[in-house]
């Protein structure tokens, strides 16, 4: 038996006994590998130059991720050490020095880490393919599976792992060197003990934590970068107060209410739980904070993506759109350029008019904020019909005589339906004639109205003041960045020649906008998800390690209960209930705090953006769904392994 052999054998056992931890480390390696592979992939970086910073951002995110997993590794090795104290004591008793024991433990963890790294890199290769496919889809590029292995990514992953393990093992090494044989051999699991013993203090802390939690959440939702940290601070304090007072409060609660104690399985469920919670108050609070952070980063990345998608959905309905403010801009120059350089299938230059009155705007009142149209905007019917065709929407019946249809963004639809008044356009009186709500580039200054536009018969529009001259086209191929920039330059030059050269000019190309959104999503959202996954996995692993470490305790408890005549099904139910409570507790505050934060965040952008699949409710649901999916997998793993161990032996 050599050091090496002994370490390897212990490593095998560690991977088996702390399977959850091992699996998480494999996943950690996969995660780090996949994200870094993406960040160094030439194919991805070549998509657009906006992705230039992606590599750097992933490096920064990796630093954060290393800290998170370093915490997990440090916590787990420390925990393993305490669980294996007797074994370490025997080594020392057999005449090994603390240094030698530390070396044994180091080798063992090195082996576990190396295996996790290798497995993780393999898995990460697959994960990378999935992420590559997603990125390609976001950029509307074809994805081809290609078996490639990024050495650079492997190097980065190995470096991250080295840092994670060095941090954890450095700490445990100091711990081992300081250990006393006596404490190791006669190690009896000491409860950390309830920190808050006095009932009065406890109730005070409990009450204060609830108040602080509410205050913190409110502060978090203020739209201020200065107040939000104060809110976060309150929320964190609240979580600590809550878990410290709650954990030590439950036993006291039942001491005072003996009748409640013996009802059903309450006794078992709570005794089992409080024993654990009393020693886990601080940890529970920390995990709850981590869950909150996870949900917030997941949610904000969804909101971020939602905002970008929502804003561009409106802007990308035409392959090419140009709008230059003013009565007299000449579309000639850019039409010439387009005619020469861009293959156009269908196009239309047209004016956007104003009624000179504000009837509809007034009706919308507060929910509409006037931006650059100081009266109701108008399109003439023939232009509108052409625009529908260019955008690829089904043709609609012309309005009946004396009617004006409205085209609006969805958020105004309901309010506009209520509008029953007659409007006077020039000489013509018109009544409302239906509402259409497809995307029609309606959210910009020189767009087809801001939020809504009135469609009137061609002759009624004649002679109305012109707000701006617009142009929309359907092209045979996506507009390239160079073409887009050339057109934009021409449009700006035309704007500068206007009487009032401070007017708006918008040039939108579907292809360009979509690339930009995809790139921003990749740069902004991917790192957030990366971090969120790391946080989530770390927290739930720690929770599960603690849960599974009670296996022995549960086993003897249930063997005893079985002898006392408890039914197996009932035992399974009790176990299930303890499980449910244990895992629910740290998520409740997280869901409350992060949920309200995300909803609030999603309601911040201008109206009309966060709708449909981007609506706050959907984003919260998706964030929670993604969170609880991973959570559930871990719980299931833990439950199966505990149930097998505990109930099987209690036959």
């Amino acid at each position: 038996m050599t050091y090496f052999k002994l370490s390897m054998r212990n490593a095998g056992r560690q991977a088996r006994d702390y399977l959850v931890y091992f699996v998480t480390m494999v996943l950690a390696a996969a995660l780090i590998f996949a994200f870094n592979a993406l960040a160094v992939s030439g194919e991805v970086l070549a998509l657009t130059e906006i992705l230039e910073n992606f590599s750097l951002i992933i490096v920064l995110a990796s630093v954060a991720v290393v800290c998170v997993f370093g915490w997990l590794a440090a916590y787990s090795t420390r925990f393993m050490l305490s669980r294996r104290s007797r074994e370490l004591g025997i080594y020392l008793l057999s005449g090994l020095t603390g240094r030698q024991v530390a070396r044994l433990f180091f080798l063992e963890n090195l082996a576990v880490g190396a295996v996790a790294l290798v497995l993780g890199a393999g898995l990460g290769g697959l994960l990378y393919q999935v992420m590559r496919a997603i990125v390609m889809a976001m950029f509307a590029q074809p994805y081809r599976f290609a078996l490639e292995f990024s050495l650079a990514a492997l190097g980065r992953t190995a470096l991250c792992f080295a840092l994670i393990y060095l941090f954890a093992l450095g700490r445990s090494r100091r711990h081992i060197r300081r250990m006393k044989i006596y404490d190791l051999i006669y190690f009896e699991r000491q409860n950390e003990g309830a920190i808050l013993q006095k009932g009065k203090t406890r109730r005070l802390v409990f009450g204060m934590s609830l108040v602080l939690g509410a205050v913190g959440t409110c502060l978090l939702m203020r739209k201020s970068l200065y107040i939000a940290p104060a809110g976060a601070f309150c929320a964190i304090l609240a979580l600590f107060g809550f878990f410290l007072s709650f954990a030590s409060g439950v036993p006291a609660f039942f001491e005072r209410r003996p009748a409640r104690k013996y009802r059903g399985q309450t006794l078992l469920v709570f005794r089992g739980l409080t024993a654990k919670l009393a020693s886990m108050g601080v940890l529970m609070a920390v995990l709850s904070i981590v869950f909150t952070a996870t949900l917030i980063s997941e949610g904000s990345s969804s909101v971020l993506y939602g905002i970008m998608k929502g804003r561009t959905a409106e802007a990308t309905c035409f392959d090419l759109y140009i709008g230059i403010e003013g009565e007299t801009p000449d579309p000639g120059p850019y039409l010439t350029y387009i005619g020469k350089n861009i293959p156009v299938e269908q196009e239309r230059p047209y004016p956007v008019y104003l009624t000179g009155k504000t009837q509809v705007q007034d009706h919308l009142g507060k929910m509409y904020y006037n931006y650059s149209c100081d009266s109701d905007p108008v399109l003439c019917w023939s232009d509108y019909a052409a625009l529908r065709a260019i955008a690829g929407y089904p043709a609609v019946e012309p309005p009946g005589p004396g009617q004006f249809p409205i085209h609006s963004m969805t958020y105004l639809e309901e309010a506009l339906r209520d509008y029953q008044g007659t409007i006077l356009v020039g000489e013509t009186a018109l009544t409302p004639g239906g509402i259409y709500t497809e995307h029609l580039s309606q959210s910009y200054g020189t767009a087809n109205g801001r939020g809504y536009i009135l469609v009137v018969p061609d002759q009624a529009a004649e002679g109305l003041p012109v707000h701006h001259i617009a142009y929309a086209a359907k092209t045979a191929r996506p507009v390239t960045t160079a073409q887009y920039e050339a057109v934009a330059d021409l449009a700006r030059a035309e704007r500068d020649r206007q009487e009032d050269p401070s007017g708006y000019v918008f040039v939108l190309s579907k292809a360009y906008e979509e690339t930009e959104v995809a790139a921003q999503a990749v740069v902004g959202c991917f790192p957030l998800y990366y971090l969120a996954l790391a946080l989530m996995m770390t927290a739930v692993t720690i929770l599960t390690i603690r849960q599974l470490s009670e296996t022995e305790h549960y086993r003897s408890q249930f063997a005893l209960l079985r002898k006392l005549g408890m039914d197996r099904r009932e035992m399974a139910r009790t176990l299930g209930r303890q499980f449910a409570l244990y895992y629910t507790l740290p998520t409740v505050p997280a869901v409350l705090i992060a949920g309200s934060f995300i909803v609030h965040l999603a309601m911040m952008p201008e109206p009309g953006v966060m709708v449909g699949w981007n609506s706050p409710a959907v984003i919260v649901m998706i964030s929670l769904g993604a969170f609880f999916l991973i959570y559930a997998i871990y719980i299931l793993l833990a439950y199966i392994s505990l149930k097998r161990n505990v109930l099987a032996s209690a036959r």
Binding site: M1, L6, E87, I90, L92, S94, G95, L96, G98, I185
Partner: protein
């Protein structure tokens, strides 16, 4: 070989001190079989832990061959444990990932003895203790008596001269206990291993050459076996225990 001089051991904080050992002194000669007896809580384990360097004394001195163990550096202490001391606990303290053979040879091989020497040493000791057949088994596959013999083998495999045993028969049935005590006697007689055994059981104590009685952390009495037979000695021990007070039934 061992001199215990006026040692004291306190546990607890300032206002709540337990005096686990109170001015205990005695000597152990080379090749002796000494048993320390006393009721539960009388300080037996504490005394043994202090001697075995698992614990430290609050006052007094413990000399091994004239050398104060408190003054040893970490490395010297490890070497001292490795080469001079063997331990046997009530609950075996074997490593369950290692086979019996590996458990016995662990310390030797980790300290750079070559594989052949280790194997020879282990086989030699195993033969003397009658555990040759179980060498390749894991601890969970063997009986309590066999586990404790494995622990004994580990305690002497490196040629240690002092065996410290804390209630070694505590977790064994009477047949296995008897068997183990015979083996410890043999080790004492044939291999000249000095034995210091703690027990609260008069029958186990009757195997010793000398019995020290501990009460409330003090040495209360001493009994020498001399040339008497074991059963005579056994009854004498019972008499002293009765004199020790009240809880004979507890002691038994």
């Amino acid at each position: 070989m061992l001199q215990v001089q006026n040692i004291e051991k306190y546990y607890g904080s300032k206002n709540n001190v337990t005096k686990a050992l109170n001015r205990v002194s005695f000597d152990v000669a080379d090749g002796e079989f000494l048993v320390i007896m006393g009721a539960s809580g009388s300080g037996k384990t504490t005394l043994l832990n202090c001697i075995s360097t698992i614990d430290t004394v609050s006052a007094g001195k413990i000399l091994m061959d004239g050398e104060d163990v408190a003054g040893l550096s970490e490395d010297a202490l490890a070497k001292f444990r490795r080469e001079r001391l063997g331990f046997v606990f009530q609950d075996f303290n074997l490593l369950d990932t290692l086979t019996v053979e590996e458990n016995i040879g662990l310390a030797l091989s980790l300290n750079h003895a070559d594989a052949q020497t280790v194997q020879n040493r282990v086989r030699e000791v195993a033969e003397k203790l009658g555990i040759t057949e179980i060498l390749s088994k894991f601890p969970y596959q063997v009986s309590g008596g066999q586990k404790q013999r494995t622990a004994c083998a580990r305690a002497i495999v490196a040629g240690q001269s002092l065996l410290l045993a804390d209630e070694p028969t505590g977790a064994l049935d009477s047949k296995a206990s008897k068997n183990l005590l015979e083996i410890i006697s043999t080790m004492n007689r044939d291999m000249r291993t000095t034995i210091l055994m703690v027990t609260h059981d008069a029958y186990s104590a009757s195997y010793a050459g000398r019995v020290l009685f501990l009460k409330d952390g003090r040495v209360f009495n001493e009994l020498l076996r001399g040339d008497r037979g074991r059963s005579v000695f056994y009854h004498e021990i019972l008499d002293v225990l009765a004199a020790l007070g009240g809880d004979v039934s507890d002691v038994l």
